[in-house]
Amino acid sequence: MAETAARKPHFQQITVMTLMTAFQLICAACVLCRQEELSLTMVYIFFGYIAAEWIYMLIGALVTGNDYFELEAIAFFLSGIGLTVCASFSESYAIKQLIAIGLGLAVYLIMLLLIKDVHFASILRYPAAVGSVGVLALNLVLAQNINGTLNWIDLGFFSIQPSELVKVAFILVGAVTLEKLLSSVSLTKYIIFSLGCVGALFLMKDFGTALIFFFTFILIAFMRSGDIRTIALICTVALMGAALIIYFKPYVANRFAAYRHVWDFIDTTGYQQTRVLIYSASGGLFGLGIGEGYLRDVYAASTDLVFGLICEEMGLIIGLAVLLSFAAIAFFAIRSAKTSASTFYAIAAVSAAGMLLFQLSLNIFGITDLLPLTGVTLPFVSRGGSSMLCSWGLLAYIRAAGAPFEPPKPDIAVKKVQKAAPPKVKTKGGAAS
């Protein structure tokens, strides 16, 4: 290991892990010290989490024989902050969040296994597509029954947000379809699938998630075609569609009436945004202390508004660290895409990173009134199982493309594709590009 480190500069796993553990211990201390009676469960939660990180890293290093774990380290950092926030609310939040992180990690590993083989991944796209549409349709029916605009299915023990799980499938379907069979038939199928997903979300009035799907669709389409004009055309059509919706259904626009005027709607539709601004400013660079804030009393403080809560209680520096972590994930995705063994991985990695970054933008700029508030979660950090599973699932696509500092892999997929169906690629591919 020392040899590789000496040969080229790369990620110092042990150093990063040590620093992160120190940070998480401080977080744990802050939460634990505020408790009137020291709860052992809470101690187990924090130490269990830190231990799990180390075990994962050590076993990973033993199994794979390397330590390309920068993505996981970032995800652990972010999840740790989310866990701290949950723990500062209540023990039950913390337990649920810890389980969510565990499940997320499991999803991550399973995903890595599933898409290890491009051909297997391409077979998976049918169940993924059918399952996605099915689950959204079911959701639509159930949500209507509950008279809500909410994108939730309540299973009694816990409720899940199906659209979060569909996000993971959406990228798989998109990346596989466009990588493997570049025929207009498969493209049409994919467009219909995307329209179905976006449409269902629109009907659920979950505009934020609909927008995320639409953006990801554009991203995948661009990755495959590289044609800016087509993309511009799609966007124009979408904008016109949006304009039509606002024209015929003015209440949709009303939902965003407070945008850029939140201070005029301070106790109504601008309530959350103004509170985020007020309390973020109150926190300064170093925060008021975990549990010391008032944003936590505002609705959705631990989910949608968690960035504001972090700024208030942990300070702007940690808030920015969270944001830069995502920029780093996206940056790694580009590097991974360049070294990946197949176009599938490159497309999947790029779209997953784009999706994460786009959702993050909708979240933090929405709650700070730089964009309209759409009510999407902050990946990895927001409280909630579905969001956590989705975040780790998306991360798997980026990791599957390769570690950012890993040497390039041999270009297997392209050779195979050329061998398997050379005429198809030449004719259609040539026409497309």
């Binding site: 103004t274 400013a281 008021l288 580009i334 933090i364």
Partner: protein
């Protein structure tokens, strides 16, 4: 494959856009942070819309006018004191928008770009503010006004420090009356009349007319005027307070003769009068440091001679703001340089050491100021009597502002010439009759207090 890798660079654009958004957020946080953090909805500072945790407000002698303790705002001990400083200290809910509580809420919150409101959170109190106001003087002025509503302000014309500022009606913030919003006697109670009031000036406006005459009529001092109690303008009549007979310019000023000043105003014409008034700050937005004053208005009629005459003696549509006129008196007393009345002595440690610089808001030509100074001194010496302002070497002008269907407002504006008492005073007592009555007496009482304070 390679093409796809190249297209992955689209993510760079996305990262850049994202970082730009983060940049915008951080910049607006830096720019607006103090405003956001000190917002009424911030429960670290406010509870139920009123300030509970904030810095202490002291008067110039270190008397605590408002402080926070155990999530509660505590005010001065005596009721008279609380009532007399209500408008400078301000209420905790921000109804008095010119009060220190509201106007300096960002300072009081202790907000800093680095630490946010961490200090407030830790200590329950933010940055302290020391006022220039002497609360004892406020109490004296408040009591001197008696049952009259109005405003009294005193400031140091050499430094700009506002030492006394009282506005009535007022109320006791500790025992807020239930009928505050309904009872007629509290109408305008949230207005600090020193800052936001505007009144018909009456004869104090003759100072401005005199300034215009000094600058525009070369032989004004050798003129004589004839007053038989009325002055016919051709299209109307200006009525005088008395029959003054033959008088020169100085005597006309002493007598506050409407006939003479109406004649002078008409001779000068609307344009010149307006120019002088505007040079003295009329019709423009003035600031007493961070505090916005209500505009004084002067627009003499260009059509009607009688209206022009009335405007020149402070009636017609003319309206003045007490703080503005205080600064005019300051300019005359200070050789032409009128500082803005500054209520704040220091906000936090840095300004305690550095101090606040005086800011000129009114400039008068030094020669004009000197001549006005002589006229105003002559008023007291020859007309009102130095016995009314014992040991003060007072200069000044009374005013009786006539109001439709009501008793006149009583005005006094003036200043002391004493080297050891560089103070100017303005007093308006609403519906209190002649300026030589209530307003002069209130002004004297407050000035006598300061004389003792400054010379002992």
């Amino acid at each position: 494959m390679r093409i796809t890798a190249r297209r992955a660079a689209i993510i760079y654009a996305l990262i850049l856009a994202f970082l730009a958004g983060v940049g915008i957020f951080v910049v607006s946080l830096v720019l607006n942070g103090s405003e956001w953090a000190s917002h009424k909805a911030n429960r670290h500072i406010y509870a139920g819309g009123t300030i509970v945790n904030a810095g202490t407000i002291y008067d110039i002698n270190g008397v605590e006018l408002a402080k926070s303790s155990d999530n509660e705002r505590i005010f001065a001990q005596s009721e008279a004191l609380r009532k007399s400083v209500l408008h400078v200290v301000g209420d905790t809910a921000g109804y008095i928008s010119t009060g220190t509580h509201y106007l300096y809420r960002d300072v009081l919150s202790g907000y800093s770009k680095i630490e946010g409101i961490y200090n407030l959170k830790q200590s329950g109190t933010g940055t302290d503010i020391t006022l220039n106001i002497d609360s004892e003087a406020n109490k004296i002025a408040y009591k001197a006004l008696g049952d009259y509503n109005g405003a009294v302000a005193v400031y140091n014309y050499k430094t700009g420090q506002l030492l006394c500022s009282v506005s009535k009606p007022t109320y006791d913030i500790k025992n807020k009356p239930d009928d505050l919003l309904t009872n007629e006697k509290y109408s305008g109670v949230f207005l600090d009349k020193v800052i936001s009031g505007i009144y018909t000036p009456g004869s104090i406006m003759k100072i401005v007319t005199a300034a215009c005459a000094i600058e525009n009529i070369p032989d004004i001092y050798s003129r004589t005027f004839e007053c038989d109690g009325e002055y016919e303008t051709g299209d109307g009549t200006v009525i005088c307070n008395d029959v003054h007979g033959e008088e020169n310019f100085e005597q006309a000023m002493n007598n506050s003769c409407n006939c003479a000043f109406a004649e002078i105003s008409i001779e000068l014409g609307a344009a010149k009068l307006k120019a002088t008034a505007e040079a003295m700050g009329f019709n423009s937005q003035l600031y007493a440091k961070e505090i916005r004053l209500t505009k004084s208005r002067f627009s003499p009629s260009t059509e009607s001679k009688s209206e022009l005459g009335w405007a020149g003696i402070g009636q017609s549509t003319t309206l003045v703001n007490p703080s503005h006129f205080l600064a005019i008196m300051g300019a005359i007393a200070n050789g032409g340089n009128g500082y803005a009345p500054d209520r704040i002595r220091s906000t936090g440690t840095v300004s305690q050491i550095v101090g606040r610089m005086p800011e000129t808001i009114i400039t008068i030509k030094p020669e004009t100021a000197a001549k006005l100074n002589e006229l105003l001194r002559s008023n007291v010496k020859n007309e009102y009597g130095d016995w009314k302002f014992e040991n003060l070497q007072m200069c000044g002008k009374t005013g009786t502002a006539q109001i439709d269907n009501a008793k006149s407002h009583s005005w006094f504006v003036g200043y002391s010439q004493r080297e050891d008492l560089p103070l100017a005073v303005v007093c308006i007592a609403e519906h209190a009759g002649h300026g030589s009555g209530v307003a002069s007496s209130v002004s004297n009482k407050v000035m006598q207090y300061f004389l003792k304070e400054f010379t002992e």
